[in-house]
Symmetry: C2
């Protein structure tokens, strides 16, 4: 890695109330979608094509470019629930990384990390994302197909279908209270790779 580094947007969800999910089903490109930012209860809705500019302008979510980037989540000690969010621009698309600290079991906060494509579920199926932690002679890698932001990030996390870290592992991978997450996106289907040549 010789990646860009960036401190992520970060917000403690107020009073533990996470925004509701309005968008469990896939929508057509022409439909309006609600704000997909999990940080805030936001009344905004718009077309999928303008979600990125909304997230950037209204919620000040940073965007990083490159095939492989490192997302630096600071202040990992903040109490749950807390979200860290960044956008990743890659392969002609924008992805949203969500790192969430949450207490599934009271008194035992865990960290959950997943990537969502700012696009449809069909588009998301064309990609594979990899999250990698690497420190103290330990390495943890998680690879999966991103979900679409039209699906609900809350359900991905409550299903546990993402990178899950308990507090002790998060500390082993942290440096001075910050967690560096290596992110890489690749195309997952042969015909896509061919189409790009």
């Amino acid at each position: 890695y010789a990646p860009a580094r960036c401190t992520a947007a970060q917000t403690s969800a107020e009073q533990g109330v996470l925004p509701p999910c309005h968008h469990h089903e896939a929508v057509h490109d022409s439909q309006l979608v609600p704000c997909t930012c999990p940080l805030f209860s936001c009344p905004w809705e718009g077309h999928l094509e303008v979600v990125v500019s909304h997230l950037r302008q209204t919620h000040r979510i940073n965007i990083l470019q490159g095939a492989e980037i490192v997302f630096l989540a600071t202040d990992m000690h903040l109490p749950a629930p807390t979200d860290w969010i960044i956008m990743h621009s890659c392969l002609g698309h924008q992805f949203l990384l969500v790192l969430r600290k949450q207490e599934k079991y009271e008194g035992h906060p865990q960290f959950f990390a997943t990537m969502m494509l700012i696009g449809t579920p069909t588009q998301a199926d064309n990609f594979t994302y990899r999250l990698e932690l690497n420190r103290n002679q330990r390495r943890l890698k998680w690879e999966a197909t991103p979900r679409s932001v039209l699906e609900c990030v809350d359900s991905v996390i409550s299903d546990g279908d993402c990178l899950v870290l308990n507090t002790s592992l998060a500390q082993l991978f942290s440096d001075n209270g910050s967690l560096a997450i290596g992110i890489a996106i690749t195309t997952s289907k042969v015909h896509n790779a061919e189409a790009e040549m």
Copy 2:
């Protein structure tokens, strides 16, 4: 992978009582060490060199050979606490893989997997082990330095310094109640790699 497959030795710890740890400190080669098998409370003790034959003969722990093997843990639905154990012979040494199902938080069993070298902590520092799960378009890899069996497997697991899976992830990676864990061992230091040439 085109690995050997083997069903692991597997035992539900009786009444939830795990064997005590007698060997927190490193010992000299000449010292007697207690049985390192976490499955049973076993009164045996002997030299480090005969631990492997003890585990094989008395506890019927299987041994697999090869640079990359797949350990197939069956009956993942068994109630916690349950251990799955296998020995892995590689690079002139024997390693012990321990997969444990345990309820750190009551009602929420998790799976913990780690590798121990049947050797001293100094010898263990020369190696890196990798555990890999790969199924349903998801991949999870854990890489770390093995601990010595002279350290206590219980403390490795209670520290959470190992591969940790919650039940939902374990189900995503399981096939028909069985979890296939890819295992690879490499030497971690340059001078070792050179010494083997």
